[in-house]
Symmetry: C2
Subunit: 494 residues, 2 copies
């Protein structure tokens, strides 16, 4: 067995085909210290400054928590979210991302499962948080202002001033095989899974994305994908670092502000699911719209007609990868890619299609998409706290995706549909069980069932069928109000 | 990906490259019903009779326990051990093997972890058994006589008469991927692991062993390897069934009776670890000893000089396979095999040598032996109740053995040595932690440490270093006596 083609960019930067996230950032900061890494509102940070901010955060951790403590963040996209991420990793600690959109039971459960000692969040999050001491936290850090009420909690309360005034910490992340992050993703049944990922997956994955998409130092990414997601972390942030490109960080995707933001940052790269193409195509045409700065879009699984219409109208090339939080990127764009395919397996993965008995099907036949890594430390280490689900997903030493697909004779993968019962709403995985659990807390709800229904804009919409108790008075709007205050808005049934 | 070469014998017998254990036995009974399957003392059973005995045991289970109940056996080699095994599997239930040599804490722990409702054992075992109700058992079946004391227990007590008087049960084992057995094997640290294995591993494995060793219907196996072990189950019993050969069942290996037993059964095949060759070579020469009936020996990892001496003196061909309870047989004999090699990977497995970072080493270099299956359901499903250890052993979707080895340019595997701290004494894996746990129960023992030391006859001998309490009076013989009554004899420190 020979080693597969290494990620050239990675080897070029760190001298090896594997690295930790901080090693890659540090190597980039040494190579092009003055190049812009981050653009946010009117401010910008060079690679050297970004590395400095990260070491300062590592220094803050040295003075506030112990060596083996994990750090959780519950943040929208912001520069501080990046420094928290990089700084935590540089300090040798594990970082747990919680999507800032989560609320209620789900948020509370994820906080408990994070096994973190410090929560990094913002002032507006404070009223949404459950009792943190009960979930193992001893510290909270606010990236904006410290709310008065937090001071009377039993937690050690920190402000970003404490970070800014810290000395530089040491970079202790030297093992590419070590755990870097935990990301929550919805499971087939029951609650979200805590996916633990190693450093090397980010570094090789980011380098492969940068190479396959042809990203270069001049590129500016319109970076709105949540940093709490694998795509925001790997496809955007890590591939930008591998290429030496810049991130123009946005808090979220806005159909109305998108072209303004692109123009202002002179963005050349954007990303999202195919619903993003639909939304932008539905906007009325504007004069000169084809003379935008974008050159390439990294878009998940676009229908060929939609892709062609978008490319024609806006003069932008759309390319796809296929993967999931557990292992990214499974496929990369390749020469000769037929329409509707999501590319060919990247150098780090072997992809196959299996029947229900876990046997390979004939080329062209439809079955479950499965994969094996060709190099170490490029996939999840475990569903944390759910080793039985890990073993089940790894049966016969293949990772079993929850997707149906087919491979053509040339090895191009076609995604057919999802096998699992989670709902995919606008790029977010929604666990029906988690929505049901919250809805059943409503005093008027006797029973409920949550399913996904096809939706042209967001792919799947969340639908709840509810049996009310006798004499119940609540209506659909009332249920939605109840749900909105207790779960992420993307989970609320419409 | 094309399917690897199927097990021809298996495909020939059941029409497919996969099967359940009862499907294979039933197919053999249909093909050669009158051929002898089992020889034991003065009795013999044809394949048709063996299948009948198995269905009768399945019928007994229908009348005594519920459908999902497991059956554990704590038996020495005996015909009833085979009917218990096959009948339990035919009934669609899982069979748990506990080596009859275990005693005390280890036995008690294995019984509890078996999650079985019925224990099949013998009269002499009764005084060794802990309170079975506390370990989840509701039934006990004695294959010989029911001890009087058992009748007053809270268990339903059955005798083999109840089995004999049962009607035939149905064969419900139709899924080759289903769990068939649980076997306990020593782990790297701590207690033994409960290895759960699917039917298909036995059927393909047995067929591949039969093909690679050239077993045929005329062969008679000198079958002393414990039926509670993977080798007794797969390499001996299943390969004999695949070939349509006969088993001459012995309770244990006896250096003094071996040649008599071989002559009496006209045995052509024997098996064991290389210490068996040493023991037989140390016996004084007897006239005509080279004119024995044996033609082939399946011997684990024999040193080349020992193998050559044995082959020369007794006119027997010695061949090797490499594997472990979790996956068998990883290698098979092949043409051109160099001395000292344990063969080439069988068609069902890919074998590689990895460095400490889980990367393949250059051909010829030494590293950890790792494997991936090429077909489904030919390896363990999990270390039951220890999914974390399973995930660790399966990292990067390779099964990590605890052995060092190397592969030559032609793909022949050379076993170098074990990485794990378990002791390999005469074919049995001994967990030092389990021995230490029992020794520390002795009132005079303050602390103890158990290690393996090289031994020419049994490979490794068990050695205990013991710190006595002040004023302790016990001596080494006293400790050995204490240990002998509380653990398998192969675990007792010498």
């Amino acid at each position: 067995m020979t080693e597969p083609e290494p990620a050239r960019l990675l080897r070029d930067l760190v001298g090896e085909g594997r690295a930790t996230i901080p090693q890659l950032l540090a190597a980039r900061a040494a190579r092009t210290p003055e190049a812009a890494f981050l653009l946010h509102r009117s401010r910008s940070w060079s690679y050297a400054q970004a590395w400095r901010e990260s070491l300062r955060f590592a220094g803050f951790l040295e003075g506030s928590i112990s060596e083996s403590d994990r750090v959780a963040s519950y943040l929208a996209n912001a520069p501080e979210a990046l420094w928290t991420w990089f700084g935590t990793l540089a300090s040798g600690r594990v970082h747990v991302s919680i999507n800032r959109a989560h609320r209620g039971l789900v948020l509370s459960d994820m906080l408990a499962r994070s096994r973190a000692a410090l929560l990094v969040t913002d002032r507006a999050a404070w009223p949404l948080l459950p009792e943190l001491r009960d979930r193992g936290f001893r510290n909270i850090l606010f990236i904006d202002e410290v709310p008065e009420a937090a001071r009377s909690s039993e937690l050690a309360v920190w402000s970003w001033d404490n970070v800014v005034s810290s000395g530089d910490g040491a970079c202790r992340a030297t093992d590419p095989a070590a755990a870097a992050t935990v990301i929550f993703t919805s499971g087939t049944t029951g609650r979200s899974k805590a996916v633990r990922l190693p450093h090397n997956m980010y570094c090789r994955g980011g380098a492969h994305v940068a190479e396959a998409f042809g990203f270069r130092a001049e590129d500016v990414f319109h970076a709105w994908l949540p940093l709490a997601h694998i795509a925001g972390q790997l496809h955007i942030t890590m591939s930008a670092i591998a290429a030496g490109a810049s991130l123009a960080l946005c808090k979220t995707f806005s159909r109305t502000r998108f072209w303004e933001e692109v123009a202002e940052a002179r963005a050349t790269v954007f990303a999202g699911l195919s619903n993003l193409l639909s939304m932008l195509l539905m906007e009325p045409e504007r004069p000169g719209e084809a003379r935008n700065s974008l050159r390439i879009g990294l878009i998940g699984n676009p229908p060929p007609a939609l892709q062609a219409a978008f490319e024609r109208r806006f003069g932008v090339t759309i390319r796809d990868t296929y993967g999931m939080t557990e292992c990214e990127p499974l496929t990369l764009p390749a020469a000769g890619q037929p329409p509707g395919s999501c590319g060919r397996s990247g150098p780090d993965f072997e992809i196959a299609i299996h029947d229900s008995q876990d046997r390979p099907v004939h080329p062209g036949a439809i079955g479950r998409i499965v994969m094996r890594p060709r190099v170490p430390d490029v996939m999840m280490q475990a569903y944390e706290g759910d080793e039985e689900a890990t073993v089940a997903a790894w049966r016969n030493l293949w990772f079993h995706t929850q997707d149906l697909g087919r491979l053509d004779e040339a090895g191009f993968l076609f995604f057919i549909e999802r096998l699992k019962d989670s709902i995919r709403r606008g790029g977010e995985n929604v666990s029906p069980a988690e929505v049901e659990q919250t809805l059943s807390l409503h005093p008027d709800v006797e029973a409920c069932a949550v399913v996904g229904v096809a939706d042209p804009l967001v792919g799947e919409e969340v639908k709840a069928a509810i049996v009310l108790k006798p004499a119940a008075t609540v209506d659909a709007a009332g249920i939605r109000r109840f749900a909105s205050s207790r779960m992420a808005s993307f989970m609320v049934p419409r």
